[in-house]
Symmetry: C2
Subunit: 543 residues, 2 copies
């Protein structure tokens, strides 16, 4: 039996477009003689819907689309589509996260997800009711399939025998001969996530003593980036092939051999840094196109962070859709400007220079006089940063261009960023990257030739808001700080090192800034953003 | 038997202070011969902890405090304290939301909350595991008590026979004679919430055929305001007495009579508008004190929104801790300034006037030249708003004073607010009030004498960012808009009226602004803020 793995990219609530996309995948699968096509979780609605699910009419629109779509599908092929179904019961939450098995222009069976993730960025229990995997079997041509949806396979104990679920619903299912297990997922990317997925898929395949396919969504949605990288394993859980990362892919294979029919499959061979690049590029691209936006701009300081964001933006949207600004004051070293200019030239992007010096001086003189300020201080530094935000937002107003924010995770963790200044923007593409990751990815952009002037990468980081300022005047060395950010924010461990202990109170004290941060593309297990929900008014002290 | 209802205000993670507070309440209860003292949910830890629970060491500190506290309690009294306990099982989430029954310097029984709220602002399922109410009985002097924690009593069907819970755990408990039911809660305020609580308490009391006490937390935590208003009902669910609203209270009553021993109890007699005032004042006060902040400032425009915020701030913090600014440009009517000055005088608050006209003109000329702008437009309006933000944030930097944001819910719903401009600030006290509520509360402040110059309340609202601007040039009439905000945002209903249909796409399109809004004090069932989780990149259209 021939099966197609349809790794598709959906647009949240663009039902007509998602329908077209499904029909297109099915058509191509049929041309390759597939008898069953499997899509990712919730692919007709798009994922993660968050509170859009409180708008019942959207679920109704989606169900209407499904009804129509089923009639347009070829009759002689089974198709598994993901979406949200209504819960007919007056008790419980209003919807199920469902998979619809379609054949002969009908929905022949509906499956409802049982385990609903509620950690980190996930909020499924808000509007989704718990289904049951108990009867998730179906037959095609005497072959028995068992279907699961995403989290349904994530209750296996980890190496420490721990699990956030008290009970694993798959353990209840025993003794029934299964020929193939399917998992339809929408699993966002972070470094190391693929290994986790392989672990849970292996456990599941071994439990059912059957080969298994893991169909993951691809595409980005706000902060979340779905990497695809769907795969098929044998009954022992050994990976047979894998789909492309960060792009749509269609793979057709025979149940008997588990070999895919794509000849050029180079999936999963990139380095971690290349994966990071692909993730962020997809993150920017999908955020823009799915929001209906086209153009971005940013301030280029001559430092590494804005340089990297400029490269990513050009990578995602093309030089014509990116515009750069140099907004110098007296504190900017002439070299910074020269470096920025060279990078803009390398990227073939127009860079406009507007001195904010006179505006800075004018406001400074008013503030100093009115507030009786005698010496240069933090206020003057923030003033420069906020003036830049103000100029860049004026350009947004004039040109419907979205400002990109250039802060990185190490800065955000310490609050080394000006609220309403350099934190202005509609999206923070590198807000989840430690300084080391910023460096690595910048060097990666220079692999073939010096796209980013090497001096940008090598010189000591500076905000250039006062004479001879260096980041390390205020912050620990970045290699130590990065490790603490990993330890405290990503791994959520205890403070151990002196830098950990320096970071923790900084982190707590500056939470109010991150409360107002723009969406941050998430590439780590725990990023700043909606998945991190810290209160502000408290007295927590770790000692 | 004499029971004390200890309606206390905790500080999140200030364990020493919370311990002192508990000891103080218990001492006072003992003086009134109480044999049992009951505190609100999680009162030793503070509530809502959100992701502070990922810091295990904080739960350990709290458990250590509990161990110490138990030894300090008087021996001859039973005390019910709320907090988080560790889940000893490797499976499931790491903690329970628990109640600890203490007597004779020991914890004699621990109860774990079964129903964990995950809607709107609540995120309990992230770190809390599900307990069971099945064995929540305990005995004191031959009287049988049954204990529940907050949400445990919220699974009764509503008048439409609906419930978000599939199963009501209380229905499993039958036939056991119960003398008294207890509910320890941390239930945040919104208008009409008390009626809901009374409904669920009545259902529970009737189910157990026993009188019942509902002990609610008081105090504010970030966006959430807990109103207290604890109460006791008889076996039929009829309220016998109620504690004060928005302040700590200790009530002692006899199980036999259910009459409280406080003579001056005027609780629950205020108007809805007075409750609103109390809620917002407590919200500001606790946000400041629990964050360790003392002073606030804001821009006073001569309009009603900033006037009301100024009154609330003075109410919460006193005139000495509030500072006002007038930041006029050529577009501000001289009357606005005069009105602002009169209000500041009435409030006995210092108001500083700084013209931003020259700064505005200087930047305008740079922007117009550099961006080749020929006519006055939105950019110039936003520029003024952002310049005000910049001046007010400079004052923050200099004086460790927190800027208050003055936007209301009707504006925020339509996006009629400038990101990084008038949306700047650390807290938005009236961000959940419709324009009507702003008007009502302003008039309420004038009940005894004209605190707010009447003209501020009566004249047509204007942002004064261009000549002769009125809000109604861009927005529907506020009475229609307010109704639509209630319908769409608060009641989450379908769009019905033309204004609803105008609002919905505005709402969706401007979500990016609210993503970056400061914390908004929540006084409605569904406010903007962390309880509303809408995505940005989507194509949802309601037709």
């Amino acid at each position: 039996m021939r099966i197609a793995l349809a790794q598709s990219n959906s647009i949240l609530c663009d039902f007509n477009r998602n329908q077209e996309n499904i029909l297109n995948f099915v058509q191509r699968a049929k041309e390759k003689n597939a008898e069953l096509v499997v899509f990712p979780e919730a692919n007709l609605f798009g994922y993660h819907p968050f509170d859009l699910l409180e708008r019942e009419v959207l679920v109704e629109q989606q169900l209407k689309t499904l009804k129509n779509l089923v009639k347009l599908l070829p009759k002689d092929i089974f198709v598994l589509i993901g979406g949200f179904d209504k819960n007919p019961d007056k008790k419980g939450r209003p919807y199920f996260n469902s998979a619809f098995l379609c054949q002969k222009n009908k929905i022949i069976k509906t499956f409802n997800k049982e385990l609903l993730p509620t950690g980190d960025v996930f909020d499924e229990a808000r509007f989704i009711d718990k289904g049951s995997v108990a009867n998730n079997f179906f037959k095609i041509k005497n072959k028995t399939f068992f279907l699961t949806i995403c989290e349904d396979i994530w209750a296996w104990e980890d190496s420490k025998k721990e699990s956030i679920y008290k009970e694993n619903p798959l353990k209840r299912i025993k003794g029934k001969k299964t020929d193939f297990v399917i998992n339809m997922s929408a699993s966002p990317f972070f470094e190391g996530k693929l290994k986790l997925r392989e672990y849970y898929v292996k456990k599941t395949a071994q439990h059912f003593k059957a080969p298994m396919m893991y169909v993951n969504m691809v595409g980005a949605q706000d902060e979340l980036i779905y990497d695809g990288q769907s795969f098929v394993v044998d009954a022992k859980g050994v990976t047979q092939f894998r789909c492309r990362s960060f792009e749509e892919d269609l793979n057709v294979f025979d149940l008997e051999t588990l070999k895919d029919w794509n000849s050029d499959n180079s999936a999963g061979r990139e380095s971690a840094t290349e994966q990071l690049r692909k993730a962020l590029v997809l993150g920017i691209k999908d955020f823009m196109s799915k929001s209906g936006l086209g153009k971005v701009h940013l301030g280029l300081s001559g430092g590494i962070d804005s340089a990297l964001v400029a490269c990513l933006a050009v990578d995602a949207l093309g030089s014509n859709n990116v515009r750069l600004f140099a907004l110098p004051t007296e504190f900017n070293h002439p070299e910074s400007f020269e470096l920025a200019k060279r990078l803009a030239k390398n990227l073939k992007v127009e860079m406009q220079t507007i001195s904010i010096q006179e505006s800075y001086k004018q406001i400074k003189s008013v503030l100093d006089k009115e507030f009786k300020v005698e010496k240069f201080q933090l206020m003057h530094e923030n003033l420069q940063s906020r003036l830049r935000g103000l100029f860049l937002m004026a350009y947004s107003n004039l040109n419907q261009s979205m400002l990109l924010t250039t802060g990185n995770k190490s800065e955000y963790a310490t609050g080394y960023a000006t609220l309403y200044g350099d934190m202005c923007g509609g999206l923070a593409p590198i807000g989840d990257l430690t300084k080391k990751q910023v460096n690595d990815l910048s060097r990666h952009y220079n692999l073939e030739y010096e796209l980013i002037p090497a001096r940008i990468i090598d010189r000591p980081p500076s905000a250039e808001l006062r004479p001879n300022q260096k980041d390390q005047d205020s912050l620990p060395e970045y290699d130590l700080l990065d490790k603490s950010v990993r330890n405290i924010v990503e791994d959520r461990k205890k403070a151990r090192t002196p830098t950990d202990k320096w970071l923790l109170p900084q982190l707590m004290r500056t939470e109010f800034k991150r409360w107002q941060a723009p969406p941050i593309l998430k590439i780590s297990e725990h990023s700043f953003g909606r998945g991190r929900r810290y209160p502000l008014a408290h007295r927590a002290k770790e000692i």
